[in-house]
Structure formats: structure tokens, C-alpha cells
């Protein structure tokens, strides 16, 4: 699979959920409900079940996450090395955008 396909920026409307899921999994493996609660806690965003599994399905298909054995009908997912790299790259780009935006805002405020 081409590396471009693993660029989260190309996820379209799934980019947001995908970034949140990968960021949550960066802490360690989590199942669907744990992901929902963790994302709600750190991002104040509640991913609806359909949206969550749509993104999980896509991320798993791209090899960015991996399913672990199910426990009590809950299947945890973990971040793969490719997923960690894709998240790292995406967040670095986002950070650059944030820094430029904040810097320009502060310059505008000073004038």
C-alpha cells in the first residue's frame, strides 16, 4: 500500500476521528467503549458508534491499527508502527499550522 494512502490528511471527513483514535491508542490498546470515553475526556468530542467503527475499519484496513483477541465481546485495538509514524507525521504538520496561526494572530494583535 502506498505511503500516501496512510497520510491522515487524505482521510477526508475521517481525518478528525482517525487522529483522535490514533492519539488515544498511542497510550495503549483500547476497545471501542474505552476509546469513546478517553477521546471524550481529552478532546471533549464524543465519537458516535457508527463513526468510530467506520474509522476503525479504515485504519485497520490500512494497517495503522491492529485488532487484538476479543475479551468479553470487547475487542481491543493497538497502534502499529506504521500507525505511530502516520500519527507523528500528521501531528507535526498540524503543529506547524497551529504555530503559524498563533504567531500571525499575535502579530496582528500587536499592530
Amino acid at each position: 500500500m502506498a505511503d500516501d494512502d496512510k497520510d491522515l490528511g487524505r482521510f477526508g471527513r475521517f481525518a478528525g476521528p482517525a487522529t483522535l483514535i490514533l492519539s488515544s491508542l498511542a497510550e495503549g490498546p483500547k476497545h471501542g467503549w474505552a476509546l469513546t470515553k478517553d477521546i471524550e475526556a481529552f478532546a471533549a468530542v464524543r465519537l458516535a458508534p457508527g463513526t468510530l467503527y467506520e474509522a476503525l475499519n479504515r485504519l485497520e484496513g490500512l494497517g495503522l491499527i491492529e485488532a487484538l483477541p476479543s475479551e468479553d465481546r470487547r475487542r481491543p485495538y493497538k497502534l502499529t508502527a506504521a500507525g505511530a509514524a502516520a500519527l507523528q507525521e500528521h501531528l507535526a504538520r498540524q503543529k506547524q499550522v497551529v504555530e503559524v496561526g498563533l504567531s500571525r494572530l499575535s502579530t496582528r494583535g500587536a499592530t
Binding site: 471501542g32 458508534p49 476479543s70 465481546r73 470487547r74
Partner: protein, 293 residues
């Protein structure tokens, strides 16, 4: 209803392959979500949207089924809309007094929206569309429902037709070209809907259902011609097709029966379709007996 049951119900939006892979864990997540937020329209809409998206990724058969479901629902809603707009026995067309010809008449809907026939047709269409789309086991029922729904629509249409008379222009006010009317479009949509269901239903005898659909569609079309062309009372074209505007409609519309020819054709078509379906059911039962233990 328990969270488990509600979760299982929501899972039905997804295709079989998806359910096999994610079903257990997804229903568990839904159960947790339902326990925390027992009522959530957002959740239902999200699951439905995501399930439909998963269905669309399943390949051409699913897309065909979606098209068929859309057509059936569209045909049913069109039937309901046409029934409401054209043959609602409670509606009125009000024109300004003393103006000849009356070019600025308004259509007053009356109580058409509570017309049980409109609701019935809409619900039949919805049930058939959902049945076709979601469950292969319901396809037979959905096909039957679609045909019965179209037959019911035809009978209701014939039975509740109102015939306003043009006071200014004499008779007949309706143009002889019946194929340009909304009714013709409706009939074509219904026929296409039935045909699409037949095409995407591998478990049904396609030939027999196709014949049933075609017989029904052709007879409905045939029924519309004497109704529209030879209607001795004329017809008020509330859609403004093709002579533009509401001019020349009566102030109040009275109930009326159309020609026995149209009624007979519709009854014949419904009977023909029912006979074909019964023959299909009998053949299926015979096959099941012969292939049994």
C-alpha cells in the same frame, strides 16, 4: 426494550460481512452507549448512515438493491403525493371571483395529508424498500408488498378520483396526451420499481415476478388512458401540465367514479398479479417438498 435488543436492531443496518467481522464488539459498544444515553437520535442517524455506507462498499449487488429500494420508496411517495395533490376529495381550488379566465387560482390541500390511503401507500413503500434493502429473507415479502401496494394505489386512485369541470372552456379540459401527465410518470416509476426488485432478487422466480410487474404496469397504464382521455367530466390539471396554471378549475370538487373500463382493467391486473404470485408460491412449495428429507 433491553439495550441488547436495541443494539441488535441497530446492527441490522450493516451488511452481513461487516456484521460477521465487527458485530459482537459493535453491539457491545452500542449497549454501553445505550445504557449511558438511553435516547439519542444522533446515535440512530449515525449508525444508519454508517451502515448504509458499509452497504454501498459491498459491491454492485448492494448498489442495485439500494437503487431498487430507492425506486420503490420514490414510487410510493410519488403515488402518495399525486394522490394527495390530484385526487384528494377534500381539496379545493379557489379562484378570484369575477375574473375570466381565472388565471390565479389557488390549490387548497384540505385534509389530504390525513388521507389513510396516502399514509398506507407511503408506509407500504417504506416497508418494501427497507425490506428489500436490509434483509435477503424479506425480499419475497417486499416484492409482494410492492405489487399489492401498487394495486392498492390503483384501486384507491380510481375509487377516490374527483372530477372538476372547467366552467369557462367546456369539455374536455384535459389534453388527450395522457402520457404527459403526472399519473403516467407515477405508473412508469411503479413499474420500474417492481422490475428492479425482480432483477435484484435471486431467490424469486424472476420471470414470473417480471410478468406480474409488467402486467400490473401495463394494465395501470391502460387504465389511465380511458380515465384521462375519455373522462366525460374533464379533469383539472392541478400540476399545471401542460397548459400552465390552475385556470378553469371548479371551486369545489365532488367525489366521482370513473369509467368501468378503468376499474375493470385495474381489477384484472391485480387479479393477474395475484394469480402469478400464487402460482409462484405453489411452485416453491412443490420444490421444497420434493427436495425435502
Amino acid at each position: 426494550m433491553t439495550p441488547e435488543r436495541r443494539a441488535r436492531r441497530l446492527l441490522r443496518w450493516y451488511p452481513t460481512a461487516w456484521r460477521e467481522r465487527y458485530g459482537e464488539e459493535f453491539t457491545r459498544l452500542l449497549e454501553d452507549d445505550i445504557r449511558e444515553r438511553p435516547r439519542s437520535w444522533h446515535r440512530t442517524v449515525d449508525v444508519a448512515r454508517s451502515g448504509l455506507a458499509a452497504q454501498l462498499e459491498q459491491g454492485p449487488l448492494r448498489r442495485s438493491r439500494l437503487v431498487a429500494a430507492g425506486l420503490m420508496l420514490g414510487a410510493a411517495l410519488a403515488a402518495a403525493a399525486v394522490l394527495h395533490a390530484l385526487v384528494d376529495p377534500h381539496q379545493e381550488v379557489r379562484c378570484p371571483p369575477g375574473v375570466r379566465p381565472q388565471r390565479a387560482c389557488a390549490l387548497i390541500p384540505g385534509h389530504g395529508w390525513v388521507n389513510p390511503a396516502v399514509l398506507t401507500i407511503s408506509l407500504l413503500g417504506l416497508a418494501a424498500a427497507v425490506g428489500v434493502f436490509l434483509s435477503p429473507r424479506l425480499r419475497r415479502l417486499a416484492g409482494t408488498t410492492a405489487i399489492l401496494g401498487a394495486g392498492a394505489a390503483a384501486v384507491v386512485w380510481v375509487a377516490t378520483s374527483s372530477k372538476p369541470v372547467d366552467p369557462d372552456f367546456g369539455q374536455p379540459v384535459f389534453p388527450p396526451n395522457a402520457w404527459t401527465t403526472a399519473e403516467a410518470v407515477l405508473i412508469a416509476l411503479a413499474a420500474v420499481g417492481v422490475a428492479m426488485v425482480v432483477l435484484v432478487s435471486p431467490r424469486l422466480s424472476r420471470l414470473r415476478l417480471a410478468i406480474a410487474g409488467l402486467v400490473l404496469g401495463a394494465a395501470l397504464a391502460g387504465a389511465s388512458v380511458p380515465h384521462l382521455v375519455h373522462d366525460p367530466g374533464g379533469y383539472c390539471n392541478t400540476f399545471g401540465i401542460p397548459y400552465g396554471g390552475f385556470r378553469g378549475c371548479l371551486h369545489s370538487l365532488g367525489p366521482a367514479w370513473v369509467e368501468p373500463t378503468a376499474l375493470a382493467l385495474c381489477a384484472l391486473a391485480a387479479a393477474g398479479a395475484a394469480l402469478l404470485l400464487l402460482a409462484q408460491a405453489a411452485t416453491s412449495a412443490r420444490r421444497a417438498r420434493s427436495s425435502g428429507p
